[in-house]
Structures are given as C-alpha cells and as structure tokens.
Symmetry: D3
Subunit: 190 residues, 6 copies
C-alpha cells in the first residue's frame, strides 16, 4: 500500500504531519514488522482515537498475563472467523502461524477451529469465546465454571472475555469501513 492509499473505504485524511509519538510508533512498526499495519493508519486520523485504540490493544494482546500471546491470537482468529472479518483473519491468521510455527494451525483457526483437536484448556477458551461472539446473553455461571475447571483463574476469565470482546468490536469496525489488510500478511509463515 502506497503512502497515500486509503486504508478504508472512508475518505478521512490521516494526521499530517504525524505527531512525533505516532511517527516514532510507526517507525518501530516498519522496523519490526516491515510495515505499518493498516488498522493503525486508519485510526491515525486523530491522536486521541489512535492512542485509545493502541493502549487497549497493547494491554490486551501484549501485556503479560495468564494467556500466552498465541492463545490470544487464537481467540482473535476464532472470533473473526464467526464475524467473517477479512482484515482480522488475514492479520491474526498470520500471527497464529508465526507464533505457533504451525501453518496448519492458523488455517484451522480460520476455517473451523473445532477440527484442531486442541487440549481441554484451549478448547474451553475457544468455546467460551465462540459463545460470547454468537450468543453472549446466554452465558451463565456454568460457562465461567467450565473455564475454572480447566485451570483458568478469574483474572484469566476477565482477560479471555476482554480479548474476545475486543475482536467483536474491531471486526465490526473493519468490516463496516472496508479496512484492507496489508498484502504482506498473505505469504507470511506459510
């Protein structure tokens, strides 16, 4: 994507020039990822919006907690598959392939996570995320207890719920605005 291409179908100008902090953040992205993910360009229409999004994202996906980074990416992909969000399936599918070193696992998360025959912990985690996505109003104590039964703490349940919730937000924003994933993702970690 060229510097001037729009990351979504909406015609909203990116901040220009970028604030210093934003420029530094984007430089780090290029250095580490080889690109600035389009979702960041999309939010870079306003500093408060970009910072609010990245603060939430970084806490949920990168801060140390009881879930591995791979597990959080697995939740991201399973939620995105239900919502059929092209942006998130491409970007986070690549993350699952990279973090796991298992391209087939990434494909399973995208296509039908139940074929993966995961262990009890990850199965419960993904089933909870799936139920949150499809029928959150039916979740009750037995669902939370099911997570505790396979070893998750109440803090872990909070974290699972917030990651699954987050992608139910970002999937919808991406689809509603036709956000386009960077082409670089497709060939990564195949």
């Amino acid at each position: 994507m060229s510097k001037t291409a729009k990351p979504t179908a909406l015609d909203i100008p990116m901040m220009d020039p970028l604030p210093e902090d934003t420029q530094r953040y984007f430089d780090i992205c290029v250095e580490k990822l080889g690109m600035v993910p389009n979702v960041l360009k999309a939010y870079a229409i306003d500093e408060a919006k970009l910072n609010a999004f990245t603060a939430l994202y970084n806490d949920l996906m990168l801060a140390p907690n009881g879930l591995s980074k791979l597990e959080r990416e697995m939740i991201a992909v399973v939620v995105s598959a239900i919502n059929k969000c092209f942006y998130c399936l491409v970007a986070h599918g690549a993350a699952v392939r990279q973090l796991s070193g298992d391209p087939k696992l990434g494909e399973m998360m995208v296509m039908n996570w139940r074929v993966a025959e995961l262990d009890a912990r990850q199965t419960a985690m993904l089933a909870f995320s799936e139920k949150m996505t499809m029928a959150s109003c039916t979740i009750d104590e037995s669902d939370r207890q099911g997570l505790r039964d396979v070893g998750f703490s109440d803090q872990d349940i909070w974290d699972i719920a917030n990651v699954a919730g987050f992608y139910n937000m970002s999937n919808r924003v991406a689809s509603a605005t036709r956000m386009q994933p960077n082409d670089e993702y497709h060939a990564q970690a195949r």
Copy 2:
C-alpha cells in the same frame, strides 16, 4: 451496591488503595452521577486496563463530533438490545431517557427501535448499527452511501461504526462476566 460488593461474578480484587487519579475520577462520578458506575469498578482491577477503557469510552461518547450525545446513546441501546445485555440496556436506556427528556423513547430503543418512527437520519444511523451488530460481514458500499445520502460525513460514519463496535465489545464483556448495573438507574428519568 455496598463498597465491597463485587461488580461482576468474577472474584478479582479492586486496586487498594486506588491510585490517586482513579480516586479523583471516582469522586467526580459520585458528585455528578451520585454513584460510581459498576463498569468502572469492574475495570478498576488494574490501572492500565481502567485507563484504556475510559480513554476509549470518553473519546467515543463524550468528545465533540458530528453525532449528538443522545444519538450515541441511542446506538448504544439499539446494539445492546440485539445482544440482550442487561447492564448496558439499564445504564444507557437511562441515558436516552435523560438526554431526550422522553421516557417513551428510551423504552422504544430497548424494546424495538423500529416502532419509534424516527427521521431519515436517525433511522439510517440505527439501521447501520443494527446491521453491523447482526451481520457486519455483509456491509458494503451501498450501506455507507446510505449514510452519506442522509447527510453523514465519512468522519461521522467512522464515529457511528466505532460507537456500534464499542458496544459489541462491552455488551459481551458485561454478559460474560455477569456485570450488574447500579440499581439507581432503574428509576431515573421515568
């Protein structure tokens, strides 16, 4: 709710003592709203999580933009009605009643927004939010154009999408953790 009652079904201790900034924020809530909304207590298990949540919430719901505060609350309730989120219906239903001065409007948003016979602008805004909630993967350019046709700018579309997206996150977090709304909401603005 007493000071020690849990805001959700999860057993996670609130920060104790609260950081100074958080305490000040909660004091303002009590002063202005007569209570600390339980969603804030729920996130007050960790300063980074609370701040990320409130930064996003405040930008979306309170910062000046092309949508009125009432319109944003109407989106909140319509999304929450589809997801049947008790917490958000109670809290944001009260907000619609208060901001509009029309208790019946609040009930319509909760029960079936289509009976309200709104003008073309608000009808388009809520129909888009509904579609984002129920089938975001089917949104296409004609849906965005429909918003432009009733006067929304592309920046407004971004804001509508982000408000509707946000409640698709918070509805699910609230339902997944059995977050309880403060009792004070029920009688407000009836």
Copy 3:
C-alpha cells in the same frame, strides 16, 4: 390517546355506539385502570371479536389456576421480549412491576430474563415458554417432565402452554397492526 385516535395503523371504525355490555366493560377499565387499554379498543370493531378475545384473555390471565397472576405476566413479558412486541412489553412489563412490587424484576423480564436468577420453578416455567416461542417443534416429553420435576401438575403445564401460546398470537397481531400501548403504562410502578 384521545377518544378518536386510532389504536392501530389500520383504519377500521370502532363500534358506534358501543354495545351496552362493552360500554360497561370499558367503564370498569377506566374505573380500575384509569384507561381503556388500546388492545380492547382495537378489538372493539366487532362485538364477536372483542368478546372472543376478552373471554380467552380473562380465562388465561385472571381465572384462578395453579400459576400466580405474576407468573402469568412473567411469561407474557418473556414471550414478548423474544418477539420484540412493543405493545405487550410496555403493558405487561408494567404489570410485572406492579404485581411484584419490584421494578427491577420487570426490567429483567424485558431485557434478558436469565439475569434474574429465579428459583427452579420459575426458571423452568420461563425456559419452557421460551422454547415454545423459539422452537416449539422441538419440545418433547423431557421438557414436560422438567416442569413436573419442579412441581407443576399436568393442568399447570396446559396453562403455561396456553399463556405462552396466547402471547405468541397477540404479539404478532399487535406488531402486524402497529398497535400502540397507552402512554400511562410507561411511568407505572417505577
């Protein structure tokens, strides 16, 4: 609603003058409820239709049987919430608030009955009504036995089925004709 306002979107004249029995019935409504519910005005286009409707309604909702009046109103609201019937949610939501003296219970029935954490009897009663509303063709002996297991007699099951069935009729008639609830309901028993 003024005397001449239409109770639905249909242009059908009310009987004029009202038959003596109907006039007496409406006078009693005004005396006891402070209004004539619009559903009665809607059926008052024909004496046979009005009498058939009220005879069925009165037997189901008011005649002594194994269900309390509150329980029957709870079924009414839970069914109406699934069908998103504005008329019935407003009118019967008010009835739940009044009969229970618990405004929050009324809100829970409207918004998501499962958050109410009812006892086993009422949970089974509402789960059966919900299943009848959403997928009646899948009800089998185990569902009926589930009601017997929490103490309902076969006569009670008949009564639950007929109340739940009735609101699946009246919800649809109300929505199909745009029946408007009397404004008085909104503020009642808050």
Copy 4:
C-alpha cells in the same frame, strides 16, 4: 382414537359428563366430520376454556369476511409449516385439499408454499403471514400497504393478522402438549 385415549401427552381428565352444549357440539362434529377433532377433546377439560377457544376459532375461520374459507386454511397451513406443527399440518392440510379440490395445492402449502405460483393477492397474503410468523417485529407500513395494493381492505388485513396470529398460538399449544391429529385426516381428499 377410542373414547378414553388422551388427545395430548398431558394427563388431564375430560369433563364427565360433558355439559349439554358441549355434547351437542360434539354430536354435530361427528355428524358433519365423522369425528370429534382431538383439539376439541383437548380443550374439553373445562367449559370456559373450550368455549373461549371455539368462539375465537369459529369467528376467525367460519364467520363471513373478506377472505374465503380456503384462503384462511391456506394461511393456517403456511404458518403451521414454519412452526412444523404436526397436528395443524395434518388437519388444515386436509382442509385445503377439500376446499380447493386440489390435493397438490394442499401438499404445496405443507412443503413449500412458494412453489405454488399463486396470484398476487394470495402471494401477498401468505408472504405477510410468513413474515408475521418469522419476524413480526420487522413488519412496517410498507407491508400493510403491500396488502392494500393487491386489493385487501384494512378490515381484511386485521383478519389476515388474526388468523396468522391464531395459528402461531395453536401450533405452539399443540406441539407443547403433543396433541395428536385424528387418523381420519390422512386419507381425506387425496
């Protein structure tokens, strides 16, 4: 069905002896239909319940109005097909075959009414009944206008809505109680 066989899965005794009026009504059924329909036996547990049901049924299905008796039976079958109610499909499918003299029409109503290629009037009538059954909360003025456009009066719309509503009630009562249709229906008018 023998005199003592139960018409439903519920163990509730029929009135014994039958009230004089009920006995006369049942005698007429035997004379005209060759049987007492099991739905009447099911309601014959209580005189008020039976009379309320039959008064409503007779007004809707037999009293003169702007719909032919065949059209009302077609609505009955289309609604019952969506709800997969065995009792009503058997009994009213037979009625469509008899009233139309066209066995294939009865089968089409049971299996997929859209294959019948009906005229605009009956197509609109059944499409409205279908929408009332599947998503009544989405019906709006354009749906009612669609019926007016093919010649229905507002009184006719009321009647269509009440017939479609009625079978949404009786389908659910029949399925919830496992009501069994009389075997005589199966071979009728083939």
Copy 5:
C-alpha cells in the same frame, strides 16, 4: 407431464434421440413405476451427466448395505424437509409411504420427524442426518459414537453420511432449477 413439457424452469433440450441405454432405462421406469421420474428427464440433457447421477443414486439408494431401503428413504425425506425441497418431499414421501405401508409415517417424516417416536436406531440415524444438514461443521466424534452405540458399523455411518449428503445436493439442484415432481406421486400409497 407430456413428452415435451420441461421438467425444470431451465430451457435445455433433452437428448434427441435418447441414447439406446437411456431409452432402455426409461422404458424400465415406465414399466415399473408407470412414469419416468422428472429428475431423470432433467439430467437427460447429456449422457455423462445422466449416467453419473444415476450411478451415484443407484449405489446409495438401491445397492445392498446395512440400511434398509425404507431407512434410506426416511433420511431422504428428513433432509428434504429441512431444505423444503418440494420435488424430493413429494417423490420420497411417496416412497416412505409405499415401503412402510404406513401413510402416517410418510406424513410425519415430511412434517416433523420427531413426532414419530421411532426406536433408538432410527432416531439416532435421523438426528445425525438432521445435524449434517443444519450444522455439519459441528459434528464430532461423539456424534459418530452415538451411531455406533445404537448398533451402526463404521461402514453404516459412511452410508448414512453419503445418503444425507446426496439429498443436500439434489434438494438444492431441484430447488434452484424449479424441478417439478410427477403428479402421479401425490395419490400414491395414501
């Protein structure tokens, strides 16, 4: 159906003259069934297509295997009822009536197979076929084990899956092309 009437809504000429083998096959149909089923006329636009279809059909429905012919027809009707395929419901509903000698069984399969109160083997077989039709991606080892538990071999499971799969194909082809069943079926075995 006259020789020149089209078996579907598509305007594609039948092979003319028919290849010798096809003519012989059609002659046998007339001799044994009193008609050439329209599905065969529909595929008789091309010899390779007709032969591929009939080879698959004959292997699945007629070759000896662990399922009775009646059981295979029961699967056909249950799948077709979910897909609301008029052609297959008419043709295979007649087959269930004929093979079972029980017209009511045919009606039950068409209308709501669960009212039939079948034995454990046939209930498991039809529940598996139903799940394959409605949500095949959720089938797992417990579903297959459920079939083994009532006596089916792994070869039988293969055959059940292939019959249920086949009607999910042919239902869709028939509905998509408006394939019309021969009128002779309606009155058969009533």
Copy 6:
C-alpha cells in the same frame, strides 16, 4: 499421510489390492499432483462408490462447459466457507490460488468472498451459489433471471447449480466423517 493412515475418522479398510483401474488412477494423481487426494482414498473402500464419485466430480469440475475451471473452484470454496468444511476449504482454496495465480483471491474466497469486488458475472454466480447453500427453498425465477442478465445461458445455470449442489454434498460427507486434507495443500501457491 502414510499409506496406512486413515483418511477419515471411520475404520473402513481400503480395497486391497486396489483394482487395476483404481491403481492407474491413483498413479496418475501422484504423477500430476504429487499425492493421492485423501477424498479418493476415503471412497476407495468400494469400486462402485469410488467410480460414482469420480465420474460425477470429473464431469462437474473438469469437463468443458461455459464456466472456467477457476470459476468452478471459486464456487467450491464459497460453498465450503458457508459450511465451514476444513477439507474442502484447504483443497479447493489451493486450487483457486493455483488457477488464478492470485493467493489473495484464494484467501478472500475462504474468508469472505464479498470483499473481493468481482465483476458482475462472478458476483452473480457466487451470490446464487451462496443462496443455494443457505436458503435454496427461496430461490425463484428472479434469481435465475439474474444469472441470465449477466450472460449465463440456461445450460450454465444448470452447471452452476450442480457444482454448488455437489459441494453441499461433499462438505457434509467430509465433515461428518472427519476427512483430513493432505498436508501438501497448505503451502501450495502461496
């Protein structure tokens, strides 16, 4: 997959030795594709079953007709995405990547075909296939006319319907039996 590994979760022995024709067919697969697709091994439990499957497959997917091979594979993937069939998404997703030389197109078909912004012909073709998969009973003449309007002949409509129908069969057989795709597909044409 080693020679003795099972292609599905069912324990059914492959023909041993393979019939001469089958062995030749498998040898050609190895020569051309570098593997024997597991679906062929799965059907190689019986010569009649294997031949019926391959005859139908070869006619639909390989014989010359008005659809390009890529178009047929696009239908295969779109249908398989709705049914969430892991086997078919992997195998036919690879085919779309190979035939188109466009890895991103393959991902779009798997994840959400509507993001691909195809021309009117292919959009109509895939929308028809999608409707056939999700609600075939609602297809009517306007849907067929929609295909004619973008240039498809009635013969093409027959072919589209049969390809879409075929994957509604094979998706279900694959999911019901836990058919595993060959690992070779994952890295192909990335």
